[in-house]
């Protein structure tokens, strides 16, 4: 199962960077998230796996697709900067390759292999354990991260907020408070003679 997920993951990740259509690339990224969630669940990290799907696939990628679909992307213009960005990109790529080589070839470089972790007992709840750790041992880092995120949200909203001067704003409270008498007037009228209609 691991090999299957890993193969799909590598394929999807490759397609993310090689797909010509940005929407296809975003959808392959979704596939990559789903398969990595599958791998995590196999590693007995159900909470992380489901949270990955919930947060990244369910929310972040939807907004991503939203933006990518609405943009009219000119592919030729995107390619223009290829040669000027190549040196920086190559350095980053080389660094990544070196790091991965260090990890994968750990035994050769004297990194001791970790023993296989024991399987969790039957009644073990991944979610409960994670919650206990976050809210007791790691409560300060956790709250710090939360505050930083909150600041980021406030900043993002402040940057994009603009008041339109000529917008006709409707106050919903006043709308709801409207009664029939304010809008409709019933006028009593005498009955007219039949002959008048002709």
């Amino acid at each position: 199962m691991f090999w299957f997920f890993a193969a799909v993951l590598v394929f999807a990740a490759l397609r993310v960077i090689t797909a010509r259509n940005p929407v296809h690339a975003a959808l392959f990224l979704v596939l990559a998230f789903c398969t990595s969630a599958g791998i995590w669940i196999q590693l007995e990290a159900e909470f992380l796996g489901i949270a990955l799907i919930l947060v990244y696939v369910g929310a972040v990628m939807v907004l991503f697709l939203f933006v990518v679909m609405m943009l009219d992307i000119n592919l030729a213009r995107l390619r223009e900067g290829f040669w000027s960005y190549l040196p920086v990109g190559a350095v980053v790529a080389l660094l990544l390759v070196a790091e991965m080589a260090l990890v994968l070839a750990g035994p050769y470089f004297g990194l001791v292999e970790m023993p296989r972790p024991e399987s969790a007992p039957a009644g073990y709840s991944n979610t409960k354990e994670l919650g206990r750790l976050i809210y007791t041992d790691y409560v300060y880092p956790f709250e710090l991260a939360a505050v930083i995120l909150l600041v980021a949200i406030v900043a993002a909203i402040a940057l994009t907020l603009r008041r339109r001067k000529h917008a006709r704003y409707i106050d919903p409270a006043r709308q709801v408070a409207v009664r029939r008498e304010d809008r409709v007037r019933i006028v009593p009228m005498p009955v007219e003679k039949d002959g008048d209609q002709a």
Partner: protein, 356 residues
């Protein structure tokens, strides 16, 4: 009895048995579900007919038996859609166009894996089933946006954009409502959540009493999540023809339809499980058969919720888009946040009486 019946195929299939047995169990859920969906469409047309003082479908029958008038309608509709041609528009992205209905129905069916029908009857009793449900329902939006984009049509695209924004917004309120439920139940497992509602007070020991604002929020967000009237701007007929599935015909359209109704049944089932006590009986245990917990109660509650969906559709005019967004972000999310804090404080005091 069941064990002895199952012994023979178990022996015959050997190592393949678990796979076959799981598939059989999945079929046992999906087939009745599809039948429910079919007859829900009939029930919807009948209910709206009654409310508007007309008869609704009453012509199609089985073998011409008159008092069955209308009962064959879903079968006839299904057959019609099945034999119709599937048209892929020029300029549409063929692969994604066909993939979209699949993406719509897959999460609607996959979510049923963790729904507990009775104390013992659940396909997969996983620990984080509430989270799994949230994840699955959040995947449903992909069917809509892929359909809108792949159709290469402005109307479909506008419908998809509206629907995606709406679903993502209401999911937040829904998630917060579920946070309240898991606080009160102290578990993410749906079975445990139902068991936590097992109090001595019958009807009043269910979570809809202490979590009343969350219950309402969940119910209304559920209507918005499934793109049902009065929140059906994704397919507002008067503005954008039929929304994201305007280019779909035949069975591909039918699959979208199935997904919408399967989602409706799922949301009603979940409302029944999370807030209305699942399989528990509303009567005290001393009442014999009426007081016993069972699958029937869950079905009855879900039926009640699903019928109220139809009732909403027949009653309310459609919301305007900005009003939908205001309701989601400025009303529901603050309400749920405040109630979670209230709940947290309440649970620390001795006034909290919803323990087992």
């Amino acid at each position: 009895m069941l064990d002895s019946l199952l012994a023979y195929p178990q022996e015959m299939l050997g190592p393949l048995w678990p796979v076959v047995w799981t598939l059989a169990k999945i079929l046992m859920i999906v087939v009745p579900l599809m039948l429910c969906v079919a007859y829900l469409t009939l029930w919807e047309r009948k209910v709206i007919g009654f409310m508007q003082i007309r008869i609704g479908p009453n012509r199609t029958t089985f073998f011409g038996i008159r008092w069955l008038g209308g009962l064959a309608q879903p079968i006839a509709d299904g057959l019609k859609l099945l034999v119709k041609e599937i048209i892929v528009p020029t300029g549409a992205n063929r692969f994604l166009f066909v993939l979209a209905p699949v993406m719509a129905i897959m999460p609607a069916l996959a979510a049923w894996a963790v729904v507990p029908f009775s104390p013992e009857l659940v396909l997969s009793n996983i620990d984080a089933s509430l989270l799994y449900l949230l994840a699955m329902t959040s995947l449903g939006v992909y069917g809509v946006i892929i359909a809108g984009w792949a159709s290469n049509s402005k109307y479909a695209f506008l419908g998809a954009m509206r629907s995606a924004a709406q679903i993502v917004s209401y999911e937040i309120a829904m998630g917060f409502a579920l946070v309240g439920v898991l606080m009160a139940a102290q578990s993410l497992n749906l079975g445990e959540i139902v068991r936590a509602q097992q109090g001595g007070a019958g009807l009043f020991s269910w979570f809809w009493v202490p979590l009343f604002p969350l219950f309402l929020t969940y119910l209304i967000s559920g209507v918005a999540e499934t793109n049902r009237a009065p929140f059906d701007v994704a397919e507002g007929e008067s503005e954008i023809v039929a929304g994201f599935h305007v280019e779909y015909s035949g069975m591909t359209f039918a699959v979208f339809f199935l997904a919408e109704y399967a989602n409706m049944i799922l949301i009603s089932m979940l409302t029944a499980i999370l807030f209305l006590g699942g399989w528990l009986s509303p009567f005290p245990e001393s009442w014999g058969v009426l007081g016993a917990p069972g699958f029937g109660w869950l079905l009855l509650k879900a039926f009640f919720v699903v019928s109220s969906f139809l009732w909403f559709r027949a009653t309310f005019p459609r919301y305007r888009y900005d009003q939908i967004m205001r309701l989601g972000w400025k009303v529901f999310i603050p309400v749920t946040l405040v109630w979670i804090v209230v709940l947290g404080a309440w649970m620390q005091t001795s006034l909290w009486i919803w323990w087992k």
